[in-house]
Each structure stands twice: as structure tokens, then as C-alpha cells.
Symmetry: D2
Subunit: 338 residues, 4 copies
């Protein structure tokens, strides 16, 4: 979570394209557009979104060509052992999907790197996963090489250069980088694992190759596993305001609908039916009909001069340790099974 | 920060009386009301609010009779050594103000208790301060008795009963409890020390004497030092919306005022001039003119079914360690000087 | 492991009586003496020594009346999961043996206290076991009250007074104190659990009642569970010299014996057959025939002016964490089963 | 402190040459021998031994050509702030002596590597020093690149290869490796800093180039800073037995000497006057006149089948943290001053 980390959080389904195409029908359109394939699936309690971007799609949405996964359990809590187990299983399955070449390259090492600053709890999930991998009495060290180098501000050396230096000597079959992320979706905070074979590319699209960690810069496949552990303050606020508007509008519509007696479940961010926000304008004013992104911008501007607050759940220690165990256990089992 | 901790955060100047009497003039009225004396002062960069409530004032605002201090540096950052030094000095000075009897009772022990759960970073500030006090090579142990008992959910024993059991044997001259707090004012988060000689009384007014830690229940003076390290999600959101409304309304008023050219400083929560929110109603709707508390309630209701998110700054580890050192150093110096 | 802790380590079978009666036959004599019953047993790999001392026996050997257990696995290593499991099972069984009254007093609380200084690894086993008990998601807190108060030098308050203050309010059915010990037998270091219902009585026999933690001072049964994690430097040395002498003497005797071809196992401290040390006098001199205790005294005197070295195995962290888990798990299971 | 670390501890003045030439006169002879220069000096309380070995000397004593420093305060204790300060100052001075080229190469980076396993306290001094360097708010990161890679058993990658991979990219002006050591001299335990510009060469003389970390293998100057934090059990024992013999023999000689009334100071390992061990043969036997190394061998043989006990002082945490601060502070100041 160094300064530029914000940009890394733009996983495909958090880009503006997706945000502005919220309804089911509209997503369908996107799915059919050239160059982008979106698959949504539920496996147990885990919602899986897989987005494949080819070269034409990359131009269209400004994301790198490759495969992007999101695994989410919206109801996950820190003591939900069953939930973490399911997340781990899905992660292991899709690790296999994403890396068919590993089975054919038993000699090749897997270089596992945990990024982040261990002294900042929400950024510690990468280093803590490495601690687990390094100190467990497994034989993972025979197949893997495992480091938590620390952040550039601590080490005095660009993390991407560190990985390049090692990769040049080791010639690994695969590099896996584990990192904490800032998310733009507060309802995903600590409930999601993101995985992509496009690596890590801060300021994506801007072409900051120096800090990029990817096949292009490292010379071997790079898979990034990201855990969203903080959310930007204004985003949290804009999301909550959006939830409020959607929720009130849904209630008003419900009342006016003949089937309202049957419909008691509250509105949830995942609902794909379009709510007509016009009905709430008298109470919440003109801005309630604006796109959410514009309200976010308003919050960001009005909070200038205040601290830029990245916020994290109160029990972040527990979340972070749970994910460190999950990543360590899943990678160990996956490596042993390949 | 056990479940009931929320209620403890109602320091006098966060009560509804204060929230609904925001302007300078209105505060003045409150100051003159019977039974409550409010003193505001700046010492260096530290804003000091001292509220004295006598028995008639206690009835009026529903807070316990006693003295309440708030020490704030609104611009404090984790690496602001000078700021922490100033906070510590003011705390030491007011510890002396609040406990004139300590100088006359050199035989009496001071029982220092750090409350909270050490495994949850924002709740660890009390136990960490105790760690510092216990392991520093000072002679504070001659005058003080120092414990971090852990929370009831860990120990199986009510923390107030723990303190009572010790106090009965030790008959201390003073009990000091150090605790993390949830604050209702997000702009105070990690920038404030609160101190009161009324002790800790969860669910104040409700009469839950069992958990109260005060002169009445312990049998000797009890001073609480509180550090606000988390903020309730809906409060953070309602505060931000309020800031947005005030800020936009202030800008509109400014444009209409002849002196607007001179006034370029952005609106800050501490501004006491009343902003007319009617001007923003077309954009932000009816609710923008409601009392802030009603918007907060709306956010709380719309987020039912979502996690109750207590949020904390990203670099909470650094804040918490800084405050642990500050409390340990200040108490050590204060004890040595008395 | 406060200054007086050395004395606490004199578990019955480390007293001079035992040391000077090394052979099997001689032990038999002691067993038959009035007032002391010694039972030796192996359960799996665990060697169990149970010593019951009645009031006449207490006079004879200067140990308090009560029951003393030692559970040892001489070949235990830190990664020997099976060994730790066996130790835990035996401990649970004998906890039941020692406390038949617990089953009949389901209302009575069990007060569990971890003694020691958490910042000194070999002394941290008690506090670490408490950490485990406090933070595990079990329901042990319903039946137990659990504290790690820290040592007197940290808290400013005598640990025995702390326990007394709590016990007075709680009136527990049983107090269990967990503590690290200095052992006089270097071959037991980190391989032994000691348990006694006589509590903790530093400077036993001397009558320092102030620091004693026992039924007499606390007012309810007190069981001490002790883990030997350090050994006094001179003791380590005297033990090694003794091992050398016994080992060489045994080899010489073997050569002179007709069955020597069959006997290839090296001498081990647990061997009970008497070795004739006269045979080694030409090489090792007069002192090789002295009682071991006199050689120990010589080492202690010659090292005066040097540091008093309490030594600990290099991988003490691992040992200490293993025992913390073992104690926490065993106590949890035992409490749940009663 | 990986398995081969034992060998690394053979600093020049722990080699057999030195051990067998104990008296002042004999050392003098060594000093005059071709190819080896020994300088002994006291600066404040710090005893400094500097050994320069040239190519002919290297052949003679089987140590690598280069400069070897030992800085010792025999009376150092963990809370001896003044002592640590003096050690740090001497270390800084000799860092300057040893690296005159640093001043002329302000562009060149200094690669600082902390070796060892952070989860084993006596082996954690290197990683902990790196933690301090990485997290202090200094500008050392502009000039230095700082890593604690962990041990090969954790990372799956040879530590020497790790350093080589980085050095190849960074082309540093200097590599500094900080490491915990096992010492052969128990009276030096935690009281000594060793420094050499010959790097780290496990199994020295044996030619295990793969694990060597030196100018020859890394391609730039490599300075090793070593902190002896553990001692091999048999060595501790042999040392103590030696101390006993010397001490008793010295006392006997004293009695027979006319000046005995004046001489009351006990024998200390640093005494260079030769004691005649013949006088103690009646009590301690033939072996008391053997070279110490032969007694050590005897202890090693007799303890076969027992654990190989590497021992460490009880308060090793405190020692290790003190040295981590010392190394971090000294390197920071030294870098800033060059």
C-alpha cells in the first residue's frame, strides 16, 4: 500500500465501465462487446467473477490483456471458518485453472513474494502470509522460493527491481505476488480475494513500467493475489450515501407496487434491478440522481484540507491473520498437488 | 471497546446539547446556564475544553457531576513529535489540577489500569501503555501498582470487579484507568485525549452500576483517560455529509457576501459561525436542513443488515504506539514530580 | 522466575534425599520410610513420578505435605507432536486425579493464573498459556477466570497479594498457577511438567509466608503447574561432569565384565545401577569420587565474580510456545470434561 | 545460525593457535611470526583486538587473508547503557578505518543484510537490526539498501545466492552482513562484537565456495559484523572446568608465594600469567594437565546421544534487542558521517 497503490485497486470490475453499467441488462451488453468476456458464477457461498480481456478489449476499457478473478463472500465474518475454507478451495481451483503450465514444469521454481509493510496492520497481509509459509514445517521450500522484501521506503530499493534481480538468477516458472489492496467498494472490504495473471501495474495505462511487476518486466508469468483491507474514506462515504438513496427509493417503489406485501428484503448493493431515483429527489435533492462517481468527487473535494482517511475495520488484525493463514495454506496445498 | 463501549464515548461536549448548540452564541448560553461551566482555552497548539458539571447541571444534561477535559490538536499527525510533546505536557498539567490531594498523600498508592484487548490494535492503547510502564527501568513501581487485566470476554471476570477486588486490598489514593474510545466526532479520531474524574460509566444515566468504575463503586477517586481510536461507520459518514453541506453552503454565502474576495479559507468543522443551509436545499434536498443527528439515524437504519463498521485510520498501529508512549511517559513524569 | 524462583524448583525428587539415594535399591528404602510414598510409572513415553508426603514425611525431608507429580519424556524434541500430545493427556488425567472435588462443585470458578515475565522468553510460558486461553474461541471463560498479572517488579504489587485479592472476591473452587521454573536437572530442561497441590512456596521451609501461594495463604486449593525452562549454569556444568565420570567409569567396568560384548548402550543419567567411580580416579582425580553436590559447590565458588548464567536451549521460543499451547489445550479440555 | 554456523565462529583469536598460546609471552611470539600482526588496545572499557593476516599468514593459521576485529567489554550487562555506547563508538571508528574507500564513492550504495531466523531469539539479532534500520525515520535508505532475507530453510534459496543476485544488479560499493554467532568462548557470550572484511565463509579452509559471502563470490567488498549470542554446551562446560582448574591452581600457587597477602583478586580467564596445573593433579587427576581442547573433546563424546545443547543467557531477549539498536544506530550514524 505504497502511495501509488490506490491505482492498483482498479480491478476490472471496479472500473468506470462497470460502475456505469450497473443493471443486469447493461452488463449483458458489456459481456457481448468485442474483446471482453465476463463470467459470473457461485460456488458454495463464493461469488466468482471472471473477466477475460483480449487485446481489443484492453483498448476499450483501458485494462491490461489477461484474466481477472474476484472471489467474494458478501456475508463473511472473521470467525466464519467455513467461509474462509470455501474461499481457499475456490482460490486453489482457479490457481490450477490459471496455471496449466505448472504441472508440466516440475523443475521450475515458484517465486512467492509477499508485498507490503509488516508494521502497518492492513498492509501486513502479504508479509504475514510469507511468515506462515516460511515457518511452517512443510516441504514447500523444495519447490518454492519465498520472500517478504518490505516496501521501497523501508528497503531503499524498488520492489519491482528486487523481484527482477531474483528472477534473473532463479528463472522461475511462475512468480506469485501477494499484496493488500485499497478497494473502491466498501462492501468488499476484507471479504474478497482478487487474482490476475496480469501482475501488478501501478498507474495502469499511464505506462509507469519501472514499478510494474509483470511478465513484460520480469520475464516470466506473474500472478497477483490481492486482498482488499482498506477503503478510501470518501469512497466509503459515497458508497453509504448511494446505499441510502437506493434503499429509500426501493422502499418507495415497493409501496407503490401491487406485490409490495411479498417483498420485504432490504435493498442490497448487489441488487441488479434498476431503482428509479427520481422518486427521492424531493427529500435528497438534485444530486441523488447524479452518477455515484460525481458524488464521490464532491466528497473528495469537500474533504480537501482534512486528512486523507484510509479506513479499515476495527478487527483488522483478525481479518489480516485469517487471510495470511488462508493464503499460506492454499498455496502450500496447491504446490503440493501440482 | 467491549460492546457497551460506544456509550462511554459521550464525553460532555459530544452530547446532544452540544451538538444542537453549535454556534458560538449558543454555546455561550449553555455556559451561563446553571450548573455547567465550560472553559475553552488554547495552550500552544492544544485546544483545551474543560466542562465542570455540578449536581444541578448533571440533571440538566444527563451527565455525571464532575470535571471533563478534552485536549485536541486538530492538525496532529503520527510523526508530529512536537505535537505529542505538547499534548503530554498539557495532560501532565491538568493531572496536577485535577488531583491536588495526591501531593498530600505520599503514602497512598496510585493504581493504574490499562483497559482493552491487546489483540485488537485500536483497543490496545491501554494495555500497551501498561507494557511501557511495567517494562521501563523507572521507579514508578514504588508509588504505583500497574495492571492491564484484559477484557471481560478474555478473562471471564468483569473488569470493574477486578478493579474493586484490588482496590479493596490496596486502598489506593487514586485509580487511573486508560482506555481506547469510540468517538462520535470523526475529526477527533486519534487527535484527542479525554480525561474526567467521573470514571467510566457505561450506559450512563441508565444506572448500570455493575460495570461502572467510579468513586461510588470503587471507593476511591477514579480518573479516566480516554483515547478515541475508532469511529462508528455511520457517524463517519454523517459527519462527512455534514461537512459537505456546510462547506457548499458556506461557499454560496461567501459569493453573495461583499467580503468574499477576502475569505478563501475552506469551511472547517470547528467554525462556529452559523451557515444557512437553506441555500443548498435545491441541490441536496430537504434532509440537508435536518439536524445532523437525524441524518445519522437514517444512515444507521439504511445500513442495518450490513456490518456495523467501526473504522480506524490505516496507520492505527503508529497512532496507538505513540499514545502508549505518551501516556506512559506523562504518567511517569507526573508521578515522579508529585 | 523472580529472584527467589530458584528455591521453588526443589520438587521433591530433586531434593538431596533423592540425589544421595540414587540406586534403585536405595530408592526402595526411601519409599518404605514412614510418611513418603513414591510411585514410578510409564504411560506411553511419559515417565510419571508421584510422591505423596504426609505430615511425618514433611518433617523428614523438609517438603510440604501434599502430592507432587513429575511428567517427563526424556527424548522430547520441539517438533515431537506425538510426545506433546502424550504429555498433555497424562497431565489431563492427573488433573482429574488430583481434583476429585471439581466435579461436585460445578458452580465454583477455577482461577487460572499465568506467572512470569512475558518479555523474557523462558519466563513467558505462563503468560503465553494465558494468552492462548484468553483468545481462543472457547467457552472456558464461563467456568474460569484467567489472568497473567506480570511479575512484582513490573506491577509494583506482590503476585501472591494479587491472587489473594481476587480469591477473596471470587471464592474459587480451585486456583491453578502456571509458571516457568529453573531446574536443577539439566536433562529435564524443557522435557518435564511438574504439578503439585501444595502450591508455590518460595524458600520452602524458611517460612516466607508473604510470598507463598497455597491453600494456607489463599484460602482455597492451589495447584501449581511448573515448566522447567532454564537451568543454572553451574548445575549444567556439574551435571555434565557427572555424566562424563559415570560414562567413562561404566565403559571401564564394561570392558572388565564378561558380558561386555552384549552391552553397547551408552550410560544415561536415568541408569540406576551403581557405577564404581574408583576406577576413574587416576584420570579424573580425587574429586571424581566426591558426591556430585560438592563438585557443584566448587563450580559455584569458582564462578563467583563471573555472571550467574542461567541458560536456556537455543530454540527456547519454540519450546515455550509448545508448552503454552499444551497447557492451554489441556486445561480447556479438562475444564470442559468436568 | 544455520547448521554450519559453528564454523563461522572461528574468529582468528579463537583458533587453536591462539588457544594453545595462552600466555603473554607466547602471544608475543605469534605476533612476530611472519604474516600475522596482532594489535591489542583498550579504548575506554572496550578491549580491541585487531588481527591482520597476509597471504603467508593465511597459510600458517588457515584463516583467510584480511583484517579481523574483536571488540569486547568483559563486564557488560544488558542495562549497561554506557557500555553499549562505548561499543558503538568503537565500532563506528573501526568501520571508518576498515572502509577508507567509502568516502570516495558517495554514489555507491551500501547493501546491508541481516542474516538469521527472526523466530529464534538468539538468531534474531540480524533481522531485528534490519527492522530498526528499515523503520527508523532516517534518510539511510537514500544511501543504503537494507534486507533481512531469512535463512535458507525458510526461504528455499541459499542466502549467499540471494546476496549475489542483488549485488549483481545494484553493484554496491560495500556489502555489510550482520549475523548472530555461536562462540567458542563462553565468557564472550553477548559481550563482544566481531568484525572482519573477509566476509562469511562457513567451513573455512574447506572451500565450500557455494555458501561463502565474500569479495571473491559477491564481487564487491564484504564486511561481516558478528554478535556471539549462543555457546555450544560442551564448550561452556569445558570452559567452566578450565576456569575451575586455573582458579584452584592459582590459589595454591598464591599460598606458596611470599606476596600472597597482597594478591587477593580471583583468577579470571583474561589473566595471561601461566598457572602451573601440576599442583592440582592430586585432586583433579591427570586430565587437568591436558590441553583444554582435549577435555572439550571428551565432553563432546560423552554427551553423544544427549541433545546438542546450544545455550543462551536467560535474558537473551534484552541482549538481542540492545545489539539490534546498537547496530542500527551505529550504521546510521556511520553512513550519515561518510
Amino acid at each position: 500500500m505504497e502511495n501509488n497503490k490506490w491505482y492498483r485497486t482498479d480491478l476490472v470490475d471496479e472500473t468506470e465501465e462497470f460502475i456505469n453499467h450497473k443493471t443486469a441488462e447493461e452488463r449483458e451488453t458489456l459481456r457481448e462487446s468485442t474483446g471482453i468476456k465476463v463470467l459470473e458464477e457461485e460456488r458454495g457461498r463464493v461469488k466468482i467473477t471472471r473477466v477475460d480481456v483480449d487485446s481489443s478489449g484492453a483498448d476499450e476499457i483501458g485494462k491490461k490483456q489477461g484474466t481477472y478473478f474476484t472471489f467474494t463472500i458478501p456475508t463473511l465474518t472473521p470467525d466464519d471458518e467455513e467461509g474462509f475454507k470455501q474461499l481457499g478451495e475456490v482460490l486453489a481451483e482457479e490457481l490450477t485453472t490459471l496455471h496449466p503450465f505448472i504441472k508440466d514444469n516440475k523443475e521450475g521454481k515458484v517465486l512467492i513474494i509477499g508485498l507490503g509493510n509488516k508494521t502497518i496492520t492492513p498492509d501486513a497481509v502479504g508479509p504475514l502470509a510469507i511468515d506462515e509459509l516460511q515457518n511452517s514445517a512443510t516441504s514447500i521450500q523444495e519447490r518454492c522460493i519465498i520472500y517478504a522484501p518490505g516496501v521501497t521506503g523501508q528497503t531503499g530499493y524498488e520492489t519491482s527491481s528486487f523481484i527482477k534481480a531474483l528472477a534473473e538468477q532463479i528463472k522461475p516458472a511462475l512468480v506469485i505476488v501477494v499484496d493488500a489492496l485499497a478497494t473502491r467498494a466498501s462492501n468488499r472490504l476484507c471479504k474478497t480475494i482478487q487474482m490476475t495473471d496480469t501482475g501488478i501495474h501501478p498507474g495502469s495505462g499511464v505506462g509507469n513500467m519501472r514499478k510494474e511487476i509483470s511478465k513484460e518486466t520480469i520475464g516470466c508469468p506473474v500472478t497477483a493475489i490481492g486482498l482488499p483491507t482498506v477503503v478510501d474514506g470518501p469512497v466509503l462515504i459515497a458508497d453509504a450515501v448511494d446505499t441510502l438513496f437506493q434503499s429509500i427509493a426501493a422502499k418507495i417503489q415497493e409501496k407503490n407496487s401491487p406485490s409490495s406485501a411479498l417483498s420485504v428484503t432490504p435493498w442490497r448493493p448487489s441488487d441488479t434491478s434498476k431503482v428509479d431515483l427520481e422518486v427521492i429527489k424531493p427529500i435528497f435533492g438534485e444530486w441523488s440522481t447524479w452518477p455515484k462517481e460525481e458524488r464521490l468527487q464532491l466528497f473528495e473535494e469537500s474533504l480537501v484540507g482534512h486528512d486523507r482517511l484510509f479506513v479499515t475495520p476495527k478487527n483488522i488484525d483478525e481479518w489480516v491473520h485469517n487471510y495470511a493463514y488462508l493464503i499460506s495454506d492454499t498455496l502450500t496445498e496447491w504446490i503440493e498437488s501440482t
